[in-house]
Amino acid sequence: MERRWGMAIDLDRCTGCEACVVACHAENNLPVSTPEQAARGRTAHWIRIDRYFEGEFPDIKVRYMPVLCQHCDNAPCEPVCPTYATYHNPEGLNVQVYNRCVGTFYCANNCPYTVRYFNWFAPDWPEPLALQHNPDVAVRPAGVMEKCTFCIQRIKRAKQDAAGDGCPLADGDVQPACVQSCPAEAMVFGDLNDPGSKVSRLAGDGRSSRLLEELGTKPKVFYLQKG
């Protein structure tokens, strides 16, 4: 059976430490922004921590929510792209073909989660960050849209390794950078088509819900939160 990659994020465990954000930057060759550009909303974080505040000062509570591409089964970004630069692959991933993107911005406008990021300038890494590029991930030129890939390069590597060892891909063999680096182990990644996988069990949990589910986008990221 085809795989259907998905993720579960336990919000009751998330501490908002942003280790996932840093790991994603390192893994996926994300461009680094300057303070001036960051103040103008020009940062690129394929995963970001949204903060929600409850109550009035001083009796205040902060809630953290890691938001990344939800890899919707019914993705609103896909039909609007005039060049098929974004499409659904057979494993349920919403993939972005950088070479095909001409930069109409339409996908980003139609994404209800605002998780698409644009290359406003040619990417630039101050020394020594330029020395730590991941050779498995393309560096994107100015003018194209990009977003979370569920670390597709790691999925490919895990499949190759499993094939080399002559055994099937086991649950937990694929770990995107954010999942791997989460100190609270709040994130779980796996195959939603495998009923025995950890992510499938968590997706069916009573605490599970999906972001903006009511839009009918069928996201594949499940958020777990009590009551």
């Binding site: 103008r40 039909p79 930069g103 406008n109």
Partner: protein, 438 residues
């Protein structure tokens, strides 16, 4: 009141209307230089944007569409001046249209040429714009016809083609006349363009039929074009964009701003080319009434759009509604209401104020107001996405302003060149019996 231009002797009409073609005043040269400089500055700004990246604009996450898209909708709206109005008047047989139609049709063609540039200017990788075209290529790739941007491209290319034909057809008899006595290069130009028109009965008959047919086609195309422009927004699931009213709302707004552009251009050519006898108070009065009607219709749509959102009270939509009417973008919204409704209502509704000057002032107000209207539609929605933590603001930069200014200069320049090469009022339409020789 001055006599109707139809009553003037045809010889005088011909002289009056061909005269602007043979003289270039110093004022004309000065205006051309200014337009050229502003245009060159805009081109330089675009060059910088192509070289450095879209970061030179004020765009940011989540406001990915800014005033380039505003300009796009604005100019496509202006293009509804011509063809649509002239087609309606031609089909309904309104006799007073004669001195108005060509001025209007020329606006359409140039506004479309300019408006059609913006989707390209606004691309992240503008040099690859042809990837949106269904051209044969070795990798057998097709563009995605499910994308409203493809519908847009198709509609605009159709409209440009149709408008050029619609402008060109009624030019042919005038071109044949111009080819008769002229300087050598002009003679060659007009003779080539007049396609060997001799003025036979058969040719007049064919022209008449072709124009009627084109008028019918162009009406449908014009309505569809701006509907499709509206669907670029309405097909997205963004709050206050995803609205069924957008198609007709945009068509109304387009005709509204189109008439305003036509009145302004007519007032200008009337003064500059001394056509006071041909473009009379009578013409302005009729167009002013049409403008007032469109103002009321636009206001009705605006009310329908906003009232339903407010009453429905959906939090996501209310965030946009609040930003428009009370928040960051409220000054834009209320300026828009003032310019698009209050000003035309007073200036055009009161008969004593509905003069040429009054109509011109109201038109300028409407043009500014309709530009702001597009800004109010495009930006607040994007600035207030469904996840509140992702919201942001947008302020255009000088690059965007320079490119916008350049398009106005380009419009002026194209129009001035056109008015020097071709009579801006169709001369043959004043012939008592076009089929007979003078």
């Amino acid at each position: 009141m001055s006599p109707a231009p139809e009553l003037l002797p045809y010889r005088q009409i011909r002289e009056d209307l061909f005269r602007p073609l043979s003289r270039v005043s110093s004022r004309y040269l000065f205006a051309t230089v200014i337009a050229f400089l502003v245009g060159a500055a805009g081109l330089a700004a675009w060059g910088l944007q192509l070289h450095t990246g879209m970061g030179v604009t004020g765009l940011q996450r989540p406001v990915f569409w800014g005033i380039y898209i505003v300009d796009f909708v604005f100019w496509i709206g202006i293009s509804h001046a011509g063809t649509l109005i002239s087609a309606i008047l031609r089909l309904t047989g309104a006799a007073w249209r004669k001195p108005v139609t060509r001025a209007a049709e020329a606006i359409t063609v140039f506004a479309l040429m300019i408006g059609g540039m913006f989707p390209i200017i606004h691309l992240g990788r503008a040099w690859l714009f042809y990837w949106l075209l269904p051209y044969p290529n070795s990798r057998m790739l097709w563009p995605n016809f499910r994308s409203p941007l493809l519908w847009d491209l198709t509609a605009i290319v159709t409209y440009v083609t149709g408008s050029v034909i619609y402008l060109y057809l009624p030019l042919v008899p005038d071109l044949a006349q111009l080819a008769e006595h002229n300087t050598p290069w002009r003679q060659r130009l007009y003779r080539a363009l007049s396609l060997g028109w001799t003025g036979s009965d058969r040719e007049w008959h064919a022209l008449e039929r072709a124009m009627k047919l084109m008028a019918c086609i162009i009406l449908a195309v014009a309505v569809s074009v701006h509907t499709v422009v509206a669907w670029d927004f309405a097909m997205a699931i963004a709050p206050m964009w995803h609205s069924t009213i957008f198609g007709p709302y945009f068509v109304t707004g387009a005709i509204f701003s189109g008439i305003a552009a036509l009145i302004l251009v007519m007032a200008m050519i009337r003064k500059l080319l001394h056509l006071e006898v041909y473009l009379t108070k009578h013409h302005f009065d009729r167009l002013a009434k049409l403008l007032l009607l469109m103002s009321l219709l636009w206001c009705y749509f605006t009310l329908a759009e906003n009232l339903t959102v407010w009453y429905g009270n959906d939090p996501k939509e209310m965030a946009v509604f609040g930003a428009r009417t009370r928040g960051h973008y409220a000054p834009y919204f209320w300026t828009m209401m003032f310019l698009n409704f209050a000003v035309p209502f007073v200036l055009l509704g009161i008969r004593r104020l509905r003069t040429i000057a009054g109509a011109t002032v109201a038109s300028v107000a409407v043009l500014i107001g309709m530009w702001i209207e597009r800004f109010v539609i495009v930006v607040p929605t994007l600035a207030n996405p469904r996840l509140p933590s992702a919201s942001g603001f947008y302020t255009p930069t000088w690059v965007e302003a320079a490119i916008t200014a350049a398009t106005f200069a380009a419009m002026a320049m194209l129009y001035m060149i056109f008015a020097k090469l071709f009579p801006i009022i169709a001369v043959w339409e004043f012939k008592p019996h076009p089929q007979e020789d003078t």
